[in-house]
Symmetry: C2
């Protein structure tokens, strides 16, 4: 398959499954996953239209557990809150908070094309990272003739994150987990409050709490744990 159908080009008209089926792993390319109706556009319009898939794709983890499609957050919803959290990066540790925000904005950007793959998907972690990396290369290459500094920022911040290469990247890695734990908790509260269906079971997601390393993000997690105790104790009778 080269390219995708022009129908419904605003909505992701290809599925992760189709990408996986698409020959063997090593043949996957961004241009096979991006609809023809976008591939034929000039940059940066093509890039901006690809970004829409971050709005239209809800995060897989929630959908797989039965969170309703209307309330399940989008990939960009997740990156947005992380980016605002990143503004609180502590300057006294010489963390550049604006750079942290940019890393948060780009860290999952490749999912616009690759999809939000989870450990349950047949695509392994190495192939997932390969797809994301070549997608970011592709997007940076689209932007480079127009604005080489922006292309470098896009790709460099992504690679810093992937390689945990800088203190900023490592801080944002913790924000990724903390934002996920907070959103997990909020859906659990929604279940308590009867807003989400009782069948939505997310407690195993909280295992990510042990992976948070930065002292400040640990403090935030401690506030969240306190609130979890309050809410779950109040609702356990």
């Amino acid at each position: 398959m080269v390219g995708n159908s022009d129908t419904a080009d605003g909505i992701r008209d290809f599925t992760i499954t189709e990408n996986i089926k698409d020959g063997d792993d090593s043949k996957w390319k961004p241009t096979t996953a991006i609809p023809d109706s976008i591939l034929r556009l000039p940059a940066p319009l093509s890039f901006f239209r690809i970004l829409r898939f971050l709005k239209t794709q809800k995060r897989t983890g929630w959908l797989d557990r039965g969170v309703s499609a209307t309330t399940a957050e989008s990939i960009s919803d997740h990156m947005y809150r992380m980016a605002v959290m990143a503004m609180l990066a502590p300057a006294e540790e010489n963390l550049d908070s604006r750079k942290c925000a940019i890393i948060a904005l780009v860290h999952d950007l490749a999912e616009a094309v690759v999809g939000d793959l989870t450990p349950d998907d047949p695509v392994g972690p190495d192939e997932k990272h390969r797809r994301e990396r070549i997608t970011m290369e592709y997007l940076a290459d689209q932007i480079r003739p127009l604005n080489s500094a922006a292309a470098d920022e896009l790709y460099t911040c992504y690679m810093e994150y992937e390689n945990s290469a800088t203190p900023e990247a490592r801080f944002v890695k913790d924000l990724d987990k903390f934002e996920f734990l907070l959103q997990t908790t909020e859906y659990q509260f929604d279940v308590l409050n009867g807003v989400e269906d009782k069948s939505v079971e997310l407690s195993d997601f909280m295992a990510a709490r042990s992976k948070i390393k930065h002292p400040l993000v640990k403090q935030w997690l401690s506030q969240l744990e306190d609130e979890r105790k309050v809410m779950f104790t109040a609702n356990s009778t």
Copy 2:
């Protein structure tokens, strides 16, 4: 009314209408619009939980025109794409692209508390801006004891945007309009492609095209106009 119900605290359990009804305009305060279940939390957890309302609130303009609640973008979806667009701010004009991204991230942040008011709402523009400004003051005050630089960044970047006070703020104002025009076009394409209902009529939203001033954003608009011609001509037979 002081505070809001604790039920369904993850979801906005108050409506713009309730806020409007809530005594006369001049009495509106952020603390009357934020649920009690969040007001009692310590910062920054309270701030992070407030940010969720940017995910759960879909942009009013789309809902009012019948875009389905599942595909209507959230407020944070809109700010996310603007912030990535802001990375393309031209350095040769001495625009600081990272600062532009931060301005994009905060420019509608107050809507988490105030709601996404439109010209059709009975709240006038002056009162709307007053509510947004005191909300940003409130949020910055919550953050200040923890991180005064972050509090200043939050409030200063918001005020710069509100007052069109810097070249960065003026650039981001154009991004706000362009992102809206692009999203309008994408929903119109969805209608053409049968993904959104034919009753969704957005053509008057395109009037915002005349307000874009920055030459680079005008170039992007020109690409969008070309693509609109292609799509609407192909579908007019």
